[in-house]
């Protein structure tokens, strides 16, 4: 492994994070909220550290990045970005200790949306803006963004792209990676803009509309309000949020195809159809469960059920109702939703619908071959055969996902956290969702988790965002051997 390559590219990423801090700085100067110094200081730190790393490891043109280097760059790069993104919270005195700042920052970049802020509305406007903005950056991916705007990364970009977006159905939109990355970001920015307009149309201020669009599209879930979306308490806003959360949970290459005139693509694509039908089906079940029990009218039962199901299944994590007060069946469905996740190629987390579909179809094929031992059957998605190596990697992924969930929640409960909270917190962090169960539910926050537990959870968030393999591989001794 050539560490100078790794250091060099991480240096560029850190400088980049320093530069984008100009955005909250502008916000801070506009509102004059007293966080200017903290942001300038963080910018200075990030740019200096990045430049230092960049210059120390200067090299003469990268020709080829090996898969191992690609993984190291992405895994360590995301950790470094989380660290420097935390500085504004730390210097701005928004949190009592650095652990909390780092937790908030990683929760932002990985689009988890779990917060340690006990009083969100007490934090300065520019820091809240930064909190939303980093979710927006992290949503489509920092590496994808740098591939789109930094052409010199293009040569070894494929390895980086694969490490950051290890989608089970690899489809490049165009022959060249940098063009694909640009398209993804254009589509992403376009839908975000649309949401801002919708929110402002309903009477939301520009600041709140921006902050919420920045956290809906990446399926992040940070809100500028203590009560999350429930603060606005309007059916129109709920509807707009549900719509855009669903859009964010759909593969972005399908959005691109829709824009190019293929109107029925959402229905033609089997994963997307599965995702939409599942959202609808679960919403109906939960609505019926809530009707009469919690809400008197079918309308409001549907409104809250659909919002909560979509919010969890897309791994956004906004709240309009405290689902912990709901009946057992609804709570269990929400818990299962935490694992399902959104579509592959979307900004959502979790296991992803595509993987589950492949898993179901694989299981069915196994049963089928028991009945017809000599049959030749293949697993197909969208009429294309899923190659054997993809099949194996998906099975491995699902196994590893559940194993890590079990191990991490056991470790968390060993730190003195109760069982329900441990299970909920880890499921929520690994799936990049936000709220969990128990004492980290939709109306609570993560401030009371012990310090070591917070580090464990923020590692889980990175694990989930980079889809397990990229992050866990750093723990394998073989990876570090020459």
């Amino acid at each position: 492994m050539r560490w100078q390559y790794v250091g060099n590219i991480i240096g560029i990423l850190v400088i980049f994070i320093g530069v984008v801090m100009l955005v909250p700085l502008a916000c801070s100067l506009f509102y004059d909220d007293g966080s200017q110094m903290a942001i300038v200081l963080s910018m200075g730190c990030a740019v200096c550290a990045g430049l230092f790393l960049f210059l120390v490891s200067r090299r003469s043109g990268i020709e080829y990045i090996s898969p191992r280097e690609g993984i190291a760059i992405v895994a360590l790069g995301w950790t470094a970005i989380g660290f420097f993104g935390a500085l504004p919270f730390y210097f701005g005195d928004a949190v009592p200790c650095f652990t909390d700042a780092m937790f908030e920052s990683v929760s932002g970049f990985t689009t988890t949306g779990s917060s340690v802020f006990t009083n969100i509305e007490g934090v300065s406007k520019s820091l809240l803006f930064w909190r939303s903005f980093i979710q927006w950056l992290g949503g489509m991916g920092i590496i994808v963004l740098s591939l789109a705007i930094l052409p010199f990364l293009g040569v070894g970009g494929m390895q980086l792209f694969k490490a950051e977006v290890p989608s089970p159905v690899p489809d490049k939109l165009t022959p060249r990676l940098s063009d694909s990355a640009k398209i993804l970001w254009y589509v992403y920015a376009l839908i975000s803009l649309l949401q801002v307009l919708f929110l402002m149309g309903g009477g939301m201020g520009l600041y709140d509309a921006l902050c919420h669009a920045f956290t809906t599209m990446p399926t992040g879930g940070f809100s500028t309000r203590n009560a999350s979306v429930a603060h606005f308490d309007s059916a129109y806003f709920d509807f707009v949020f549900v719509l855009f959360m669903v859009l964010a949970g759909i593969n972005f290459s399908l959005h691109y195809q829709l824009l190019r005139g293929r109107t029925l693509i959402f229905w033609r694509d089997s994963e997307c159809r599965f995702f939409l039908l599942m959202c609808l089906g679960l919403t109906v079940v939960v609505t019926l469960d809530l009707y009469g029990n919690v809400y008197g009218s079918l309308g409001s039962a549907f409104r809250y059920a659909s919002f909560q199901i979509v919010s969890i299944v897309t791994t956004t994590g906004y709240a309009t109702a405290d689902y912990e007060l709901w009946p057992g069946l609804s709570q269990l469905i929400i818990f299962i939703c935490m694992f399902i996740g959104a579509s592959a190629g979307s900004t959502g987390g979790g296991m992803k619908c595509a993987r589950l579909m492949v898993c179901f179809k694989y299981c069915y094929r196994e049963l089928f071959t028991l009945i017809h031992p000599r049959s030749v059957a293949q697993v197909k998605i969208n009429d294309a055969v899923v190659p054997d190596h993809v099949l194996k990697s998906i099975m491995g992924f699902l196994g590893l996902y559940l194993l890590l969930f079990a191990v991490c929640s056991a470790i968390l409960s060993a730190m003195g956290v109760d069982m329900l909270t441990s299970l909920g917190a880890v499921a929520s962090c690994i799936g990049n969702i936000g709220p969990g169960f128990g004492t980290v539910g939709p109306v609570d926050n993560f401030a009371h988790i012990p310090m070591l537990g917070k580090w464990l959870l923020l590692w889980c968030m990175l694990l989930g965002r980079l889809e397990i393999y990229t992050m866990i591989i750093l723990l394998v001794p073989e990876f570090w051997k020459k």
């Binding site: 898969p67 040569v155 490049k172 022959p175 063009d179």
Partner: protein, 454 residues
């Protein structure tokens, strides 16, 4: 510029890698999942796992927007059908097919005018036979190519201690050797490619690439203390398509030729096709057979079987038994740099030759010919200087050439000039440039239009 490549074998992969490196939009189609996986994992290209001769798939790959379609699968028929479909769907797309069957040789031109309208048909085997033939002529030459319709040769020779050039600085060449001095384009020293300047000295053991006119070849080679001797006896191991072609070519020149082939049926077919050539049935790596057939007396042994390892061993064995020189066919690119260390200097590769002719075709218009040198490390490029290009109308010292490229010579009408800092390239001149792979695309841009035009 969008390019579709059908076939992700060794040739397809390497062309894709070169073109992706030059920032072209490349789509590769192949039936094999593993081949597509290798391409998409290592290169910045789009891969489609399907048959490239299917019109549906070509449509999906974007044939209508594609500028060029390269059909380079192993099957001639698949390549032809792919080009036919491409012609049907998008007549504007330029097509190129690799067709190796000798039966098509006479009809390469006809493909252009009649359907499937293939713009270029390449058969690397014809090129390889030509290269082998040229290499035979100068026993010492390691590499050899032709430029300007064969009027100029470029030759790679190993410098040994007997040559008067060893240890001489390049800038003293003019005073020492006068007009016959070779135009040195590049030097390979310890596996490393150097583009020499005036201050450099040549060392014993260097592989020197130079350019010279056809008529002066003999004198120039004499400077290396090497001679051009007439060929008398040749032994070919491996009677495949290339072996047969080569034997026929040698037969026409009345050179005594023997072919060793291990397949009896193939031997019979060969003996039917040949008039004077001796066809031997046996294993080329069998020492007794080689001794029986007097391998020690042959001028050249050519190892052309389909198995690279056998070719290498046969060549080593023949050298050991006293053959004059050996020429070895090697297709695996990773072996090529190793060859000189194990003492096999002359290597030919049909794949490499296919790649260089295809690349030449892709760049058509600006560049007349391009020859890959040293595996794929560098290229010798021949081009016409256009009036609009940045290279004309100014003394060379005022032109900023990309680092790693050198203008080797200027050809104006019939004279070949060695450029100096004060030389001016005039529009219409032919120029020969030696360039490292990394700067080829920069050079390409430079040769087309001046930056101000954009």
């Amino acid at each position: 510029m969008k390019i579709i490549i059908v076939g992700a074998g060794e040739v397809g992969y390497h062309i894709a890698s070169r073109l992706a490196f030059e920032n072209k939009d490349v789509v590769v189609i192949d039936k094999s999942v593993d081949a597509i996986r290798r391409v998409t994992e290592n290169l910045d290209v789009q891969g489609i796992t399907a048959s490239g001769s299917s019109p549906e798939i070509l449509e999906k790959a974007g044939i209508r927007q594609a500028e060029i379609l390269l059909a380079v699968t192993n099957s001639d028929e698949a390549n032809l059908v792919a080009c036919l479909m491409a012609d049907m769907l998008s007549p504007a797309t330029r097509t190129l097919a690799r067709i190796r069957n000798a039966h098509y040789d006479q009809y390469h031109g006809a493909f252009k005018t009649a359907p499937p309208h293939i713009n270029t048909v390449i058969n690397p085997e014809i090129e390889v036979v030509k290269t082998i033939y040229r290499l035979m002529k100068i026993p010492a030459a390691v590499d050899m190519g032709e430029l300007v319709e064969g009027r100029v040769k470029f030759v790679g020779l190993r410098l040994d201690e007997r040559s008067p050039m060893a240890g001489v600085r390049l800038k003293d060449f003019a005073s020492m050797f006068g007009q016959t001095r070779p135009l040195i384009a590049a030097v390979v020293r310890r596996q490393e490619l150097i583009i020499p300047r005036g201050e450099h000295r040549l060392e014993v053991g260097d592989l020197v690439y130079f350019i010279c006119e056809n008529d002066r070849l003999k004198e120039t080679v004499a400077l290396f203390d090497k001679t051009i001797i007439p060929l008398r006896r040749v032994m070919i191991v491996g009677g495949g398509r290339i072996g047969e072609r080569l034997a026929k070519c040698l037969e026409a020149e009345c050179i005594h030729t023997k072919i060793i082939e291990s397949d009896l049926e193939r031997c019979q077919a060969l003996s039917e096709a040949m008039a004077k050539t001796v066809v031997l049935h046996g294993d080329g790596s069998d020492q007794n057979l080689l001794l029986e057939e007097n391998v020690g007396d042959v001028d050249v042994l050519v190892a052309l079987t389909n198995d690279e390892e056998t070719n290498i061993l046969v060549s080593l064995l023949a050298k050991n038994l006293g053959a004059g020189t050996t020429i070895t066919k090697v297709s695996k690119f990773s072996y090529i740099p190793l060859m000189s260390t194990i003492g096999l200097q002359k290597v030919v590769s049909p794949r490499l030759s296919a790649i260089s002719s295809i690349l030449h075709d892709v760049r058509k218009g600006k560049i007349l010919s391009a020859i890959s040198v040293l595996g794929e490390e560098a290229e010798m490029i021949e081009a016409i200087a256009l009036e609009t290009s940045a290279i004309t109308g100014r003394p060379l010292k005022k032109i900023s050439f990309p680092k790693g490229a050198i203008l080797v010579s200027i050809i104006r009408e019939d004279t070949i000039m060695i450029p100096s800092g004060n030389s001016v390239v005039e529009p219409g001149d032919r120029i020969i440039i030696f360039a490292r792979r990394q700067v080829v695309h920069k050079l390409e841009k430079m040769l087309t239009v001046k930056l101000e035009f954009f």
